[in-house]
Symmetry: none
Subunit: 218 residues, 2 copies
DNA sequence: GATAACCGTAAGGTTGGCGTAAGGTAGACG
DNA sequence: CGTCTACCTTACGCCAACCTTACGGTTATC
């Protein structure tokens, strides 16, 4: 678990960080919103522990800003016992839970666990097409419950076709999708991938439009 | 916390509900078993507060019915001081705790907390996968009863794979999970960890998806 | 202060994905 | 019907991605 701890009081933060690290988590501790902001921009965390009173700004507005940016990382607020309104406000702005200071270290641990679990079984984006079940978020395909293993390139092609559902996708678009700049390829590599995809997913799933491109059969 | 309160005496129920709501819980109050039954069918609660004497039936049989349906939501019984046998009976039928009427509001709160903690710890945190038993909360793994010792990094990798169950997890995600910012590593350290994990947990638990990442074999 | 555990590194081995190309198929058009 | 051409299919071989292992540096443990 990768944890972002935003707390200015070292006396609180340090033991907490140590306790969580002893629990085999990776903790990154910042004392200002400014630092935390660049950290959360650059990296992915599994959970954020956010103190509301910080030297360089209000934790609540930070919270709103994060959610506005559509970052859905679970956030647990660290708040004083008497600041009931802060807690409510925080939950309303998209926090996932709160812990009251002074907190029990094990309680924080427990909250982190439940919050992470909650976010882990979030909805996964799955698409049903003919007898196939394609899950975009886990890169998995199955037919009649039987999982089908695709290679990286095959998946790349399928994903583009799925996203441009029912539209005719030109070969060039597909090639652009699976080859980075500079590693383009001459020859019929794409056609070979299409062929291999068909043999795995069913002969008539992918329809050819001569001279134009490919579509998925709905 | 989402709380289902089943209590017919408004004089008791109302202040309790208010007190719990002030503590930021969500309380849904029903005065009959019938209503409560449909509520618990439809929604998930974190804890149920159950009075045993209700106008439309016996709380104890309701309790049995819930447990028979394999609903494991923690249940706290609200009972009168002189009904000792009811309490024992309740606990035997699967209640998690009891509070004696007339109760102190803060005591109820405390009971709710401990009961929730307990249930969160025990049922959410152990995962069975193939012949392995993995406990997320205490970071232990065992195969056929034999404990297996994992190192910190090995555990970090395994935990992420477990949490993203059945998803293909890219190498970068795994690396991000076990290295804090600034202590990233060049070389195939991750591959080495995967290899060591496989030798400890079984050769085919972790499946490689070339160019994409790793998955756990279900 | 010695022993063990952990982990990054790199070397050497393995393999599956992928590009290639050759031969076949089928729409398009006259 | 014949020809052209875009596309299909298959086998093959290469190589990057990956695996495994040993080694040494560092840190934890007693």
């Amino acid at each position: 678990m990768r944890i972002l701890l935003i707390e200015d009081e070292a006396a609180l933060a340090r033991p907490l960080a140590e306790h969580l690290e002893a629990d085999l988590h990776i903790v990154e501790w910042f004392a200002t919103l400014d630092e935390a902001d660049s950290a959360i921009r650059a990296l992915e965390y599994d959970v954020v522990l956010l103190d509301l009173q910080l030297p360089d700004g209000d934790g609540l507005s930070f919270l709103s800003r994060i959610r506005d940016r559509n970052i859905r990382t679970p956030i647990i607020i660290l708040t004083a016992r008497d600041k009931v309104s802060d807690r409510i406000d925080g939950l309303n702005r998209g926090a996932d839970d709160y812990v009251i200071k002074p907190f029990d270290l094990d309680e924080v641990k427990a909250r982190i666990h439940t919050v992470c679990r909650r976010s882990a079984d979030q909805l996964t984006q799955t698409i049903l097409i003919r007898d196939l079940c394609v899950c975009l978020s886990d890169h998995s395909v199955s037919r009649a419950g039987q999982p089908i293993r695709l290679t990286a390139k095959e998946w790349g092609v399928l994903e583009v076709l799925l996203r441009r559902k029912s539209k005719i996708v030109p070969k060039e678009s597909l090639e652009a999708a699976i080859y980075a700049y500079g590693e383009e390829v001459e020859s019929n590599a794409l056609e070979a991938h299409i062929s291999r995809l068909r043999s795995k997913l069913g002969k008539d799933l992918i329809v050819t439009h001569r001279g134009m491109g490919y579509t998925l059969q709905p």
